[in-house]
């Protein structure tokens, strides 16, 4: 067992989201939900983070940003797509400039539905991501460790 599930650090990126889901993500950090109880920190630096939390749909402008953040994160890492837009493109799915959900550009491990996703759902998604994180750690090669 590793200590990964006890200290998940997040990097949160707002890809063309309407801010609804972002406010719910930040609500998780407030005294009401206080995710730091579980060691979760909104670290804001991809090099320090274990979980990549994305809200909003992917378009041409933020495509490269999402890939860049993902590539800078150290293994093991998981991606959590939060809200209808990040999971599938949501109501913007048919827009000429929208490519769809986050899984069009990077592999997504956990999908959290909702518009906006509720804080309880987000915390549940992050907790499920911890299981994926642990699995990825086990599969990591000796060289990377």
């Amino acid at each position: 067992m590793s200590y990964l599930p006890k200290s998940p650090w997040l990097v949160h990126y707002d890809a063309s989201s309407c801010n609804g889901c972002d406010i719910e993500v930040l609500a998780c950090l407030t005294p009401l939900y206080d995710v730091e109880r579980f060691g979760v920190l909104n670290i804001g630096n991809p090099k320090h983070a274990d979980i990549f939390v994305v809200t909003g749909s992917v378009n041409e402008q933020n495509k490269s940003v999402i890939q860049n953040i993902y590539n800078q994160m150290a293994e093991p890492k998981v991606v959590v797509a939060i809200g209808a837009c990040a999971t599938s493109g949501g109501i913007f799915r048919e827009c000429y400039n929208v490519q769809g959900g986050v899984d069009k550009v990077i592999p997504v491990d956990v999908y959290v539905p909702g518009c906006a996703a509720r804080p309880e759902a987000i915390i549940d998604g992050v907790v499920q991501a911890l299981g994926v994180l642990e699995e990825k750690y086990k599969k990591m090669g000796k060289v990377a460790k």
Binding site: Y3, E36, G39, N45, H48, A74, E75
Partner: protein, 285 residues
């Protein structure tokens, strides 16, 4: 201290300091959370964080970075070893300064804009606290006529009686050294972003864990310095070290971050008035 005892002190410091430092960090996070109306993380959270960082993939920007960060950790440990074995206080402070310089070089070696700004702000912090640190040692020397920690430690009356100004000045720069608001301008220990954690922007995995462990060692050394002002009585010394840290947590949670100009200016003014003033009084006696 005699040969054998000082070696025991060194071993005890190397083994116990990270445990004590980590627990202090855990208590710090818990109390900070309670002050903000939150429940807070488990007491052992800082250890979980460091163990996790150890198991992450090793990404380095270049080879030198790794070496410099390791040097930072080693020189901070050496500082504590010199101090707790009763060695030369001046040498301990110089080792600590050298360690800090290695951290700055490590940040510079990454060529990252955030790390550059962080390194520059770290240097400004050093400029801010170094005068007061040196004055603290000068003051201790003037009273005890020795730079050796063991002589200062066994001096027949508490240094606080003769060095009250220097103690207050040292408390002021401790806020910078503990990396607490309002002076956490280069490496906040909270989950802040970008410039506020500039120095460590480019460190990940093991390097970040080393920086964190070095911070624990450093905190224990600094609390040891606080203890030295009350060294004739163990209980009072330890109590003051605890009170000092609680005060720092209180200050941290009640202040917003100030500009570096204020940090530098206020630290120098404090060093001039409290530090030089105290020394002038000692010299005139």
């Amino acid at each position: 201290m005699s040969g054998m005892n000082s070696w025991i002190a060194v071993v005890l410091y190397i083994v116990l300091a990270p445990i004590i430092g980590g627990l202090i960090a855990g208590v710090d996070r818990k109390i900070s959370a309670r002050m903000q109306g939150r429940f807070g993380p488990p007491l052992l959270q800082p250890f979980y964080d460091v163990f996790k960082l150890m198991s992450k993939e090793n990404i380095v920007v270049n080879k030198h970075q790794k070496f410099y960060v390791l040097c930072f950790l080693i020189f901070v440990i050496i500082t504590g070893c010199i101090f707790f074995s009763g060695g030369d206080l001046l040498l301990a402070i110089f080792a600590l300064t050298l360690g800090s310089v290695f951290l700055i070089i490590a940040a510079y070696s990454t060529y990252s804009p955030y790390a550059y700004i962080g390194a520059e702000r770290e240097m400004l912090q050093m400029m801010a606290y170094e005068p007061m640190v040196i004055l603290t040692i000068v003051g201790m020397y003037m009273v005890t006529k020795s730079f050796n920690v063991v002589d200062i430690f066994t001096y027949n009356q508490p240094l606080i009686y003769t060095l009250p100004g220097i103690f207050l000045g040292f408390l002021f720069i401790l806020t910078i050294k503990f990396r607490k608001s309002p002076f956490d301008i280069s490496m906040s220990h909270h989950a802040h972003q970008e410039i506020v954690r500039g120095v460590i922007t480019e460190f990940s995995g093991k390097e970040l864990a080393y920086v964190e462990i070095a911070h624990w060692y450093e905190n224990v050394f600094l609390l040891g310095m606080v203890f030295l002002f009350f060294a004739t009585n163990w209980a009072i010394g330890a109590a003051f070290a605890v009170v000092t840290y609680l005060l720092e947590i209180f200050i941290d949670n009640n202040n917003s971050r100030l500009k570096w100009q204020f940090a530098l200016g206020s630290a120098w003014i404090v060093a001039l008035i409290l530090g030089v003033g105290n020394i002038a009084v000692l010299a005139l006696k």
